[in-house]
């Protein structure tokens, strides 16, 4: 990549004035750092993955309304977690976390267990029980 070819497209951090370092060659063919404000091809890849997260959230909301999944599943998706990450934050085995994603199991959970989830998501118990979806 030549220095004059370093892309300066709009990206998610254009509004923050942040630029990232890439390596490129100057006219004499010497390598050095150059700043890029973003690249369309890459922003599109990032957006694609963000869209997928949004789709997953919508899907989860549907399933909660149908009484299939628990609010834990909703907060997990919103905070971009998966059962592996969540199990780390609540300090429980993964299989337990996966069970707690089911609405039926969730309704029988003790306050103490629910509190662990509320702490992990940094919300209150009532927010956990009644998510605004």
């Amino acid at each position: 990549m030549k220095k004059e070819e370093v892309p300066q497209d709009q990206s998610s951090f254009s509004h923050t004035n942040m630029k990232e370092v890439v390596y490129a060659v100057d006219k004499e063919g010497k390598y050095g750092k150059a700043l890029s404000s973003g690249w369309e091809a890459k922003t599109m890849a990032l957006n694609e993955s963000l869209e997928l997260i949004e789709e997953k959230v919508l899907e989860t909301v549907q399933k909660i309304k149908q009484g299939e999944l628990s609010p834990i599943a909703y907060y997990m998706e919103v905070q971009r977690m998966d059962p592996v990450v969540l199990s780390g934050y609540v300090g429980m085995w993964q299989w337990r976390v996966k069970r707690h994603l089911k609405a039926k199991v969730f309704n029988r959970l003790r306050e103490r267990t629910l509190q662990k989830y509320a702490d992990a998501f940094e919300i209150t118990l009532s927010e956990l029980k009644n998510p605004k979806i």
Binding site: Y23, Y31, A45, E48, D82
Partner: protein
């Protein structure tokens, strides 16, 4: 207190932290140099491990490997601490800072307040340097940011104790006992040797064979898992290739910069020629990313389009194979 630490914005967090810490301790090595000595150029495709609902691709070794290789090859020691207790983690950090010792920290990205929202994922192998504490705020030099910044005690504790894969557990590290004189030439040769060994490894998912394997799968994906999933998988590949920290083209440009520097130090003009070839390969990767992004923009359903970008990837695999064979010859 504030340690007189020089912040240099870098492409990649791990190399940047290592390079900045070494510079502070009186050993002047650039980011590409750290990357090259640590054999950072790599490729692996792990179809059976899913990250973010897509198979895992990586253009670099496991986090932490580059640093430990560099320390071994340049002959310095790294002191590392990990903690169970959050209070102890903070005490140790504060104690090092009062000793005027800037330290590297492994942190999770999700709760880094100064990152743009779009980049906040649960990725736990980010690196930054803490170089002081003023009015209860920690002074942070994050190598991918243009300027230094600060984090409060709580904010720092949160990212140091992020959970999930690669959980940092408050991990702090710093170089100790730097050797009097460093044999840079020997270290560079070692770095190059391991790089071509890995890229030419007789393992189907590693190096140029790994790239070829991905190309083969791309041809099958549209029929097997559908266009939507294929596009998502391609998006994942492009993200790994171009995300902040790669310096563009899946680290290929940083490696080319390293070869150029190495050519001068080793007085080997062949390496300078190879640096140019690596630049061409990096450009090929960028081309591939553009084509891939067109696919998920247009959501085109013709399978021929997928064959075409698979051809591109095949060409890259061939080019990298030829390149690393030449590199092997060049340093003999």
């Amino acid at each position: 207190m504030k340690i007189n630490f020089e912040h240099n914005q870098s492409a990649h967090c791990e190399n940047g932290v290592v390079s900045n810490l070494l510079k502070y301790n009186g050993l002047n090595v650039s980011e590409p140099m750290v990357f090259g000595i640590g054999s950072g150029v790599f490729f692996i495709f792990i179809p059976f491990i899913k990250v973010n609902y897509a198979p895992m691709f990586s253009f670099r070794p496991v986090p932490g490997f580059i640093f430990s290789r560099v320390s071994k090859r340049l002959g310095f020691k790294i002191k590392r601490h990990k903690f169970k207790s959050k209070a102890k983690a903070q005490q140790t950090l504060d104690a090092e800072l009062t000793k005027n010792n800037p330290v590297g920290l492994q942190v999770g990205v999700y709760n880094l307040t100064y990152f743009p929202d779009e980049y906040r994922f649960h990725f736990n192998a980010h690196n930054l340097v803490v170089y002081g504490k003023e009015n209860g705020e920690y002074l942070i030099s994050d190598p991918v940011m243009p300027e230094v910044t600060t984090l409060s005690h709580n904010e720092l504790e949160k990212v140091r104790f992020a959970k999930g894969p690669f959980a940092p557990n408050g991990h702090i590290y710093y170089p100790t006992q730097l050797p009097q004189d460093v044999d840079l030439k020997k270290a560079i040769l070692k770095g190059i040797k391991q790089a071509y060994r890995h890229m030419l490894a007789p393992v189907p998912i590693v190096g140029f064979r790994g790239i070829r394997y991905v190309a083969k799968r791309i041809r099958k994906w549209p029929d097997k898992i559908g266009v939507k999933k294929t596009n998502h998988y391609l998006g994942q590949l492009v993200r790994m290739q171009e995300e902040i920290g790669t310096g563009g083209g899946g680290f290929r440009f940083i490696f080319a910069a390293f070869l150029q520097e190495a050519s001068e130090i080793l007085e080997n003009p062949k390496l300078s020629e190879l640096s140019k070839e690596m630049t061409v390969i990096g450009d090929q990767w960028r081309d591939f990313a553009i084509d891939a992004s067109r696919l998920y923009k247009n959501r085109s359903r013709e399978t021929d389009a997928y064959n075409k970008i698979a051809d591109k990837l095949d060409a890259i695999a061939l080019a990298e194979r030829a390149f690393f064979l030449q590199l092997k010859k060049a340093i003999k």
